[in-house]
């Protein structure tokens, strides 16, 4: 038996993955993880606001937060870094996030099939039972299709 590659570790992977591109732009950072879930943190920042008068975070960064946590939860559940593409993502907004509060995005990969991964999650600003948003999404493995890589 050949040595298997190291199991995907989101706490380590996040260190470099979140340092580039859009994730770095909005300031995402690693928060916690379990066997099939990952939590990332989105800071409250002036340049992420959608409603200046009330200091309400735009919903766009919340989608980005949950999208990134989705990918990491899938790699955590599979134990390996595979190429995936988001098929669809739905976000329901329950209430605005409190001004100045960082958001935690929690996403679990609750089901894996040969070619698809199903995730669900939520975002909160301190109390996980009082969600700011809930989400669900579907991702496809794209390792079989070089056209999309």
């Amino acid at each position: 038996m050949s040595a298997s590659p190291a199991k995907f570790d989101p706490s380590r992977a996040a260190k470099f993955m979140l340092k580039h591109g859009h994730s770095a732009k909005i300031g995402l950072s690693y928060h916690a993880h379990g066997a099939d879930w990952v939590e990332l943190e989105l800071p409250w920042r002036d340049d992420l606001v959608g409603e200046v008068e009330r200091g309400i975070l735009a919903s766009g960064p919340i989608i980005s937060l949950l999208d990134m946590a989705s990918g990491l939860s899938i790699w955590t559940a599979t134990g390996e870094f595979i190429a995936i593409a988001t098929l669809d993502l739905r976000v329901d907004y329950q209430r605005p996030a409190r001004k100045g509060a960082a958001l935690i995005g929690h996403v679990e990969c609750y089901r894996l099939t040969k070619s698809a991964a199903f995730v669900r999650g939520f975002a909160h600003d301190g109390d996980p039972s009082d969600t700011v948003a809930t989400m669900s999404g579907t991702f496809m493995s794209i390792k079989q299709d070089p056209r999309n890589v």
Partner: protein, 140 residues
């Protein structure tokens, strides 16, 4: 004939930080765009799904705000939900988005949005948004 051009000042701080600008007006609907840059990059060389979603959503709000202004209605807009379908990988090109109001009710609006790059007939993503139109100073 000239259609009213919304001013960039009406874009949110978040939209401006992603480099989203008003590109043009088509059939009365604003076409928004952003250039590819590190700020909107996900997988190396490709658009981040979250950034694409941000552009789609901004185009949806821009159209709804325009339409409400035209009807002289004032509301606070609050997102109810958004469903984004990702159809093709976004490449290192300019990305455009334009919305259509499917239903404009008294309290909520249903809006569909499309984002594309080189080929208008090959959208990279579409979204359906439900937006609550609250009274200007009501709590919800």
């Amino acid at each position: 004939m000239s259609e009213p051009q919304p001013s960039p000042g009406t874009l949110t701080a978040y939209a401006q930080s992603l480099g989203i600008v008003f590109h043009s007006v088509e059939d009365g609907a604003p076409v928004l765009s952003f250039e590819f840059s590190g700020d909107v990059e996900g997988r190396p060389g490709h658009l981040h799904g979250g950034a694409t979603s941000g552009l789609l959503e901004t185009a949806g709000y821009a159209l709804l705000r325009n339409e409400l202004a035209r009807l002289e209605r004032t509301h606070r807009l609050k997102p109810i939900n958004i469903t984004v379908q990702f159809l093709n990988a976004g490449k290192q090109r300019t990305t455009y988005a334009k919305a259509r109001i499917t239903k404009l009710g008294r309290r909520n609006a249903n809006i569909s949005v499309e984002a594309w790059q080189d080929d208008r007939d090959r959208p990279i993503a579409t979204a359906i948004m439900n937006i609550l139109m609250a009274e200007q100073d009501s709590p919800a």
